[in-house]
Symmetry: C2
Subunit: 138 residues, 2 copies
DNA sequence: TATTGTTATACTCTATAACTATA
DNA sequence: TATAGTTATAGAGTATAACAATA
């Protein structure tokens, strides 16, 4: 049964639903699909990642990663490299071009939406404190 | 350039990214795709909706709605009905079976995740207040 | 034998463009 | 003419299963 819903969660859930389209929209600005943007976000420069670990990060089957990586590699944004330690694995690295797209895209994601900026300074500080306590409880 | 990022937004953004998989996961519990779950969420009982309005709600092209509705109708969860006023439009209604799935699914979505329940009562009330002010500023 | 990544296959979601039937 | 929904087409993401190379 439903009954009473936690008020904080109800409001946060509404916000999550409303912000649902934000990532896909920003990805589209760079002519990236949502998953492609996700890959660029996950693939930190100086921190190459095996394809299998990317599959985990994306939460999808390893077989999908082949095609996703193919398309990003065709656009020159990432590259496959052999892993010296284990010749079965392929390590992904972001190219200079990919790094430029990544930096600009992360900057766009970092821009706070009006919902945040409209809040009073006190509310923003309060909110940051609560969310920090939420994150710290991991 | 990037520089300083709004702390509240940074934390909220992290939370959004972390919760990204929640809706698809809950949809999967009911053997629904994310979009199908979205349709069931948007289609309130006693409030039939023209297909074009559903396309707006989903944020996708009208041509996609045909297939999405086809599959939900084949499963007996929704129905197309002719609109008496304008014979071009088809109105969507949720079936009794669809209503049962919808109710259970919304109840699952309403369950607050541990991140919320772990917060102190004070923080939960504070958070609800801030989010309410955010929502009110529309 | 087990694991990494690929291929083959099938389905869903997505957009664009052309079409129909109404208005 | 314009609008609501459909169809045709093409591309991308998803899962499962079978496979090759390597461990």
């Amino acid at each position: 049964m439903m009954g009473l819903m936690n008020p904080a969660w109800q409001l946060l859930n509404d916000l999550l639903m409303a912000q649902r389209a934000r990532m896909p929209a920003i990805a589209a600005e760079f002519e990236l699909s949502p998953v492609q943007a996700q890959v660029l976000r996950l693939l930190e420069p100086e921190r190459p990642m095996p394809m299998g670990r990317l599959a985990c990060g994306l939460g999808c089957d390893a077989s999908n990663v082949t095609g996703i990586v193919d398309r990003l590699e065709a656009r020159g944004l990432i590259e496959r490299r052999p892993a010296p330690a284990d010749r079965r694995v392929r390590v992904l690295v972001i190219t200079p071009a990919g790094r430029r797209v990544r930096t600009t895209m992360l900057a766009r994601l970092a821009e706070p939406p009006v919902e945040i900026t409209r809040l009073s300074r006190e509310d923003q500080e309060l909110l940051a404190g609560i969310l920090a306590r939420m994150a710290a409880a991991d």
